[in-house]
């Protein structure tokens, strides 16, 4: 159960004064749980497994709370620890080596900079336009799924179509949006451009 020992190159210190024990744990959980799940989901591909990985991480942090090491509940630490656990999980599941390689090169989400914020607004407009221009059935399915977070079967029931139709419409919407928004879909950052933490 070894957690990484690493020195990130830089990170913004937590705004509040360092808390210890249970309160710090609670705070870290409340602020990072969803993001960590999202991040681990990207690596392992299964929400169920992602929740288990993050769950175990927080359980272990609880057991070792109060131990020396200021950064143990900091964002960078949590993301690296979560990634290591996700990779360990993938190895246990004996997922093909190429996938583990991909997962190990994933970059942890960083804090948005003001420039990101600005770009984001421009992007939002483009995204809204692209969604509005989808064929109507396609758009209906996509919006019910992405905005209202309805499960596929409920979308099928609501629109009175088959589950297969919902799936194919979702995929059609995805492909169309992808074509529309291609200029904004940043190429994946190559491994060399990333800050490297040596963990293994």
């Amino acid at each position: 159960m070894s957690e990484p020992s690493f020195r990130p190159r830089s990170w913004t210190p937590a705004p509040a004064s360092p808390r210890t024990g249970a309160a710090a744990w609670e705070a870290a959980f409340a602020t990072c749980y969803v993001e960590l799940c999202e991040y681990v989901l990207r690596l392992v591909g299964s929400a169920e497994a992602a929740e288990d990985v993050v769950h175990d991480l927080f359980l272990q942090l609880w057991d070792t709370r109060g131990a020396p090491g200021q950064g143990r509940l900091s964002r960078p630490y949590l993301f690296v620890a979560a990634r290591n656990r996700a990779l360990k999980y993938l190895r246990h599941r004996r997922v093909v080596a190429a996938w583990i390689e991909r997962a190990s090169q994933e970059q942890a989400p960083l804090v948005d900079s003001p420039e990101d914020e600005c770009l984001r607004r421009e992007l939002d407009d483009a995204v809204q336009r692209a969604i509005a221009e989808l064929p109507s059935r396609c758009r209906e399915v996509f919006v019910l799924r992405r905005r209202d977070a309805l499960p596929y079967d409920q979308i099928a029931a609501r629109l009175g179509v088959s589950l297969g139709t919902v799936k194919s419409q979702m995929w059609r919407a995805t492909v169309r949006l992808k074509e529309r928004l291609m200029p904004f879909l940043a190429p994946p950052v190559s491994a060399k451009d990333r800050p490297t933490y040596h963990l293994f």
Binding site: F29, A30, Y33, V34, C37, E38, L41, R42, V44, G45, S46, A47, E48, A49, A50, E51, D52, V54, H55, D56, F58, L59, Q60, W62, D63, H92, R93, R94, V95, V96, A97, A98, W99, R102, L123, V127, I131, R146, R147, A149, Y152, K167, S168, M170, W171, T174, L177, K178, L181, M182, F184, L185, A186, P188
Partner: protein
């Protein structure tokens, strides 16, 4: 068959770990698919924040519950007296690869009978009007393990001195088996035909998973260890069930009390699969009972003081004498053996 549209399920996390692994393998097979996946993910990030509604409050509740139990287990589970000198490192180092299912190729020299059994799903027989398959029973002697494969893809490794009964109606509506002893199950999940393990003290239901069930008659309890996926645990009487997750240990004792401890060591509880017997601060009585099952022995202790001992020890050997000498060294005891009968006596007073 995996299709491009399955990438969406991967991005949204709408798949079980097994399905995720299959789709990941499919993606890894072709760089173009990987590129497409990256684009879909980027698109998902653009069109809304989280890919799914994560249940933060539920997760917090679960963690708080588990946290309490976990803390209790840790503080109560420390050995009464450290036996640093007695800990035998006979087991090879390295974690137990629970997911590497090389049961039969294990280096362990115990007799392992391997059979491939086709339990024809009952409904198939029923549909063709053929007579139902007879009930089958698999029994292992002390010192013997048995790997059983079902036609639905599920597999069972039956531990020593255990009995697994597969009723005639296996697969008709449910896939219920009856167990006495210990077995490790790798179940091919099928919601339409739930897989149930019935024991004297309760029932374990598979919800897509790998798990270990232990219910030796003389232990008068049921213990379930989850290695992967989900399991529902129910008392023999009563409909309410408890959900167990990976690394949960659920126990139903003779009085029907259910205890769940999270974050247990799979390596420890599943060591038997690799042919290692592992005990961690275990009462001598339990250790002896297990040695009897593994080496087909009858062990007698005359010394009352020994019975209070708790020990941390592991055995990997196939030779009963080697195991017994290791035990004797740790206990500071002496043993004599005649055929199956072993006498264990203390040579020095217990400190």
């Amino acid at each position: 068959m995996i299709e491009y549209s399955d990438l969406l399920r991967l991005v949204e996390g709408e798949c079980s770990p097994e399905e995720a692994a299959a789709i990941q393998a499919w993606v890894a097979a072709d760089p173009a698919r990987g590129e497409l996946l990256d684009q879909v993910r980027a698109l998902w990030r653009l069109t809304g924040d989280p890919s799914r509604p994560w249940d933060l409050a539920g997760a917090r509740d679960r963690l708080l519950r588990v946290r309490g139990r976990h803390a209790a287990q840790r503080s109560g589970g420390l050995p009464a007296r450290s036996r640093a000198t007695g800990f035998l490192r006979m087991a090879r180092a390295g974690p137990l690869p629970v997911w590497r299912r090389v049961w039969v190729a294990s280096p362990w020299v115990l007799r392992i009978a391997v059979t491939l059994v086709l339990v024809i799903a009952g409904w198939a027989a029923w549909q063709r009007g053929a007579p139902p398959v007879p009930a089958r029973e698999y029994v292992t002697a002390p010192g013997q393990r048995l790997a059983v494969s079902f036609s639905d893809g599920s597999r069972v490794l039956l531990g020593v001195a255990s009995r697994l009964r597969v009723p005639r109606d296996y697969g008709v509506r449910t896939r219920a088996v009856e167990l006495e002893g210990e077995a490790y199950f790798v179940v091919r999940h099928d919601p339409a035909h739930p897989f149930l393990v019935r024991t004297a003290h309760g029932t374990t239901e598979d919800l897509g998973t790998e798990f270990d069930v232990r219910a030796y008659r003389e232990e008068r309890s049921l213990q379930v260890i989850v290695a992967a996926g989900r399991v529902a645990l129910r008392r023999t009487e009563g409909a309410d069930s408890l959900l167990l997750r990976p690394r949960d240990r659920g126990v139903i004792d003779a009085g029907g009390t259910v205890t769940i401890i999270s974050g247990v060591s799979l390596k420890h509880y599943l060591a038997w699969i690799r042919g290692t017997l592992q005990f961690d601060d275990a009462p001598l009585g339990g250790v002896l009972a297990q040695l009897e099952r593994w080496y087909d022995l009858e062990i007698q202790t005359t010394d009352r003081s020994l019975e209070r001992e708790r020990l941390t020890i592991s055995f990997t050997t196939a030779a009963p004498d080697e195991a017994l000498s290791a035990l004797a060294r740790v206990l500071g005891a002496r043993f004599t053996r005649e055929e199956r009968v072993v006498r264990l006596t203390s040579v020095r007073p217990v400190r």
